[in-house]
Subunit: 205 residues, 2 copies
Amino acid sequence: MDKEISPAVIKRMPRYYRYLEDLVAAKVERISSNELSEQMHVTASQIRQDLSNFGGFGQQGYGYNVKNLHDEIGRILGLDEMHNVIIIGAGNMGTAIANYVRFEDLSFKVTGIFDVASDKIGRTICGREVQSMDELPAFTEENHVDIAALTLPRDNAVAVADELISLGIKAIWNFAHVDLNVPEDVVVQNVHLSDSLMQLSFKIS
Amino acid sequence: MDKEISPAVIKRMPRYYRYLEDLVAAKVERISSNELSEQMHVTASQIRQDLSNFGGFGQQGYGYNVKNLHDEIGRILGLDEMHNVIIIGAGNMGTAIANYVRFEDLSFKVTGIFDVASDKIGRTICGREVQSMDELPAFTEENHVDIAALTLPRDNAVAVADELISLGIKAIWNFAHVDLNVPEDVVVQNVHLSDSLMQLSFKIS
């Protein structure tokens, strides 16, 4: 399992995980690449090739052991460990993510919500009080933070990202409408909604 | 400009558009691929190759005419036309998108917000009253809808997507945690936040 996995496969892994999760929930024990192919609308050969990265879970005439494959992909995706997530920005997007992270996946736990706006500080979101950004340095000293979800408008986002990095946060889930320039040891995963909408617009033009 | 543009270039186009928009706003008239390369953190040769798809805007020793290139990419992305967007689901994500679409890009206009939940119907979001899903057929008959943003929980999403399609909607911006199977003439652009979060988790594992 120490073999290098290509970026294209890594991008497809969460989707496999999603389908395998449903199969586990439906108590399906094994599935052939052909059956999975029909469900996922990708070719069976693509599936066989992708899943061959994760060791010997497929057997000719038997198919994949659903639970094993699910757990192995989950392990590779790091979902076997709990991640502490803080949310920066208590607006609609921050609130949506707080609700989302909490319910969608048990490997992620919202441990703090922060904002700069005085009308948002002190409000409760998902049972958690919104704290002032001024409290963030003390918070990160006392609590390990794995991921910061950044949902501020682009004007504030760059400066706040720099602050997060200076506080030792190594992973930013960036919803701000701007690219962040970060040191090499910091990971950024962008959710650029405008880019997504423009792609959709292109497809219908 | 009728040359086929590769999917990889299409995916990069919104990002070029974003940078060019900032350059236009900053009243920059021209930029070399080297300067753009520094700002965007991609190689100059990648930029030259990508932008060569959009005709003769680059000249040796002159660089790109920022405004022309911005407008041309915008035109290809379909941003020169107004798109009517309805939002299905008036929860946090729906509200976030309503705010987002309205302010971020003038080529998209939220013309209706719909929900099934009686406690959400009648509320006002961004100056627009949330309507019942029961009103959607009459609405789509009277108003042209280009895009439906689907922000319902996954349990409802598939049935509602089928309804949207039966009402003649051809483009779905899907925020639900499920893949939609749609006819060939319908376009789906997914924003799977869980997939994005899993990719981030992978990168820090």
